[in-house]
């Protein structure tokens, strides 16, 4: 049974419709990627899945339950967690406080100590900087805080919007390695990326979003090697 399913979702902001028909299935323990050009609605889809936007039609299913109308703040407690685009840290709060806030949902709170040890092991840099205000960190360190804060929520599905944006190639590779490790622990991951090549290289399965519709899907390796896909949708 898929852990997360998006069924024919249409969504947008007020009168501006951005998504027309998006469908997606996330199998547990798999790393899925959603790729597509700038402005096709990737972030809109994530916001709709999280409940920050209400779907105009279609539905979202999490662990066999219709969660289309569940508000954002209760999604985290279910285990559905988003690392938002542009990091969205609590910039006036310390790194440690940001991580504590990640564990706000009642399901993650008892596991705070264990998860803290886990993210500090994954990102030793954050341990060194834990009492520093997160707004004063470098872009790469801030992205680490954003991912670590998401992990503190003890997610079943972790969705990451533009992990690589503004990061150096070295750091990007390192963070993708971290995600691979996380997948080994059984975490289901959805990567939303403009860095198509990288996303298809690390993920198992991919969706291509174009003009508000999920136009194509397939094993990532296959998508990456298909000539038509590469030229028509991915600009490679």
């Amino acid at each position: 049974m898929p852990i997360l399913e998006v069924r024919e979702v249409a969504s947008g902001y007020g009168d501006v419709q951005i998504l027309w028909n998006a469908s997606m299935v996330l199998e547990p323990g798999r790393m899925t990627c959603l790729v597509g050009a700038n402005g096709v609605g990737k972030t809109t889809l994530l916001r709709t899945v999280m409940g920050q936007l209400k779907p105009m039609s279609g539905s979202i299913w999490f662990e066999g339950r219709d969660v289309s109308r569940v508000p954002a703040y209760t999604k985290a407690a279910l285990g559905l967690v988003l690392v938002p685009e542009g990091r969205q840290l609590f910039t006036d709060m310390t790194v440690l406080e940001n991580l504590e806030m990640g564990a706000s949902n009642p399901h993650a709170r008892p596991a705070l100590k264990r998860n803290l040890a886990r993210v500090f092991e994954m990102f030793p840099r954050l341990h060194e900087r834990m009492h520093q205000k997160s707004g004063t960190l470098s872009g790469g360190e801030q992205q680490m805080v954003a991912v670590a804060r998401g992990l503190m929520a003890d997610p079943k599905v972790l969705m990451i919007d533009e992990l690589s944006l503004g990061l150096s190639p070295v750091l990007t590779v390192q963070l993708f390695q971290n995600l691979k490790q996380l997948k080994q622990t059984g975490l289901t991951i959805l990567l939303v990326e403009q860095n198509v090549q990288m996303a298809l290289a690390v993920s198992d399965y991919g969706y291509v979003l174009a003009q508000g519709r999920t136009e194509l899907e397939g094993p990532s390796r296959q998508l990456a090697s298909d000539h038509h896909v590469r030229s028509a949708y991915l600009g490679l």
């Binding site: 999280m50 988003l82 969205q88 006036d92 706000s104 993650a108």
Partner: protein, 284 residues
């Protein structure tokens, strides 16, 4: 030596101005709402202490604790009834919503209490240190203000709900993504802002006469102090309160009393022109 005495007097009252301003600045800092009901809520704090003290014959400071709790609850209620539905609307809507609350309180208050002055018959005597005589009630009010400020800091920096308040103030959307119920946190914050206003009012009532309209002057002072200390910065509000209290103590020694508000608002304009983020830095 007279000057020194007025300076000390002004400073002591400045602590109380500080917590009044803290209420205003906290609400602004967390939810970007300018609370125009701030003054009437201060006045309700005054009447709350008056009513409980006279009706039950208890010590005003015990009455104050009750008033603080009722203030917290009323703030949560006001948020739920009047503000929640317009919180995401343009600023004008929240401004009008809080103005409506302001009018309702003043209207009902005038009906019930008229606009004539009330006093609480209570004294703690005074202590003299050299040439300075300090009223006991003012000293206790200043101490209470320090305790309230300390408690607010402990709450905001050491407790989980307090950290939620800061997280929601900092980035409401991200707080929601982390599972923080932001509308409950906003209601709590409005409650705390109201608690601070009512507490300040209750403390002032132990040494000044008051009317249902008395809050207006303190609301304006709170704006000056808030801008002085940096809007959204509670500790800045306390410091700003001390500066304003000191000015009020010292100015009458050189100029007629009527100059006090003139100079205060001159300072307000100057700060806005020269250092709009306040002397002690504002929340961005």
């Amino acid at each position: 030596m007279n000057l020194l005495a007025s300076l000390v007097d002004g400073l002591l009252i400045g602590f109380v101005y500080g917590i009044a301003a803290m209420g205003l600045t906290l609400i602004w800092g967390v939810m970007n709402v300018i609370n125009l009901a701030h003054g009437p809520l201060i006045a309700l704090g005054m009447f709350g202490v008056y009513l409980i003290t006279t009706a039950l014959g208890v010590n005003p400071y015990i009455a104050l604790i009750l008033v603080a709790l009722v203030g917290l609850a009323s703030g949560v209620l006001i948020y739920a009834v009047a503000i929640q539905r317009v919180i995401n609307a343009p600023h004008l809507s929240t401004l009008l919503a809080t103005f409506a609350i302001n009018m309702i309180i003043i209207g009902l208050g005038t009906k019930v209490f008229s606009t004539s002055p009330y006093t609480i018959d209570f004294s703690l005597g005074s202590i003299s240190i050299g040439p300075i005589t300090i009223l006991g009630t003012r000293l206790v009010a200043a101490l209470a203000a320090v305790i309230v400020t300390g408690s607010l800091y402990l709450f905001l920096y050491r407790t989980r709900p307090g950290k939620y308040v800061r997280a929601v103030a900092n980035n409401r959307a991200a707080a929601e993504l982390m599972g923080i119920p932001s509308s409950r946190i906003l209601a709590l914050s409005f409650g705390i802002g109201t608690l601070l206003a009512a507490t300040a009012g209750g403390l002032i009532a132990t040494f000044f006469p008051f009317t249902i309209l008395a809050g207006g002057a303190y609301e304006l002072k709170s704006f000056v102090i808030g801008v002085l200390g940096g809007l959204g910065n509670p500790l800045g509000a306390l410091a700003g309160g001390l500066v304003l209290g000191m000015l009020e103590g010292v100015i009458p020694a050189f100029l007629p009393n009527t100059w006090v508000p003139v100079l205060e608002f001159l300072l307000f304009v100057l700060i806005l022109l020269v250092r709009p983020s306040g002397l002690f830095g504002a929340k961005r």
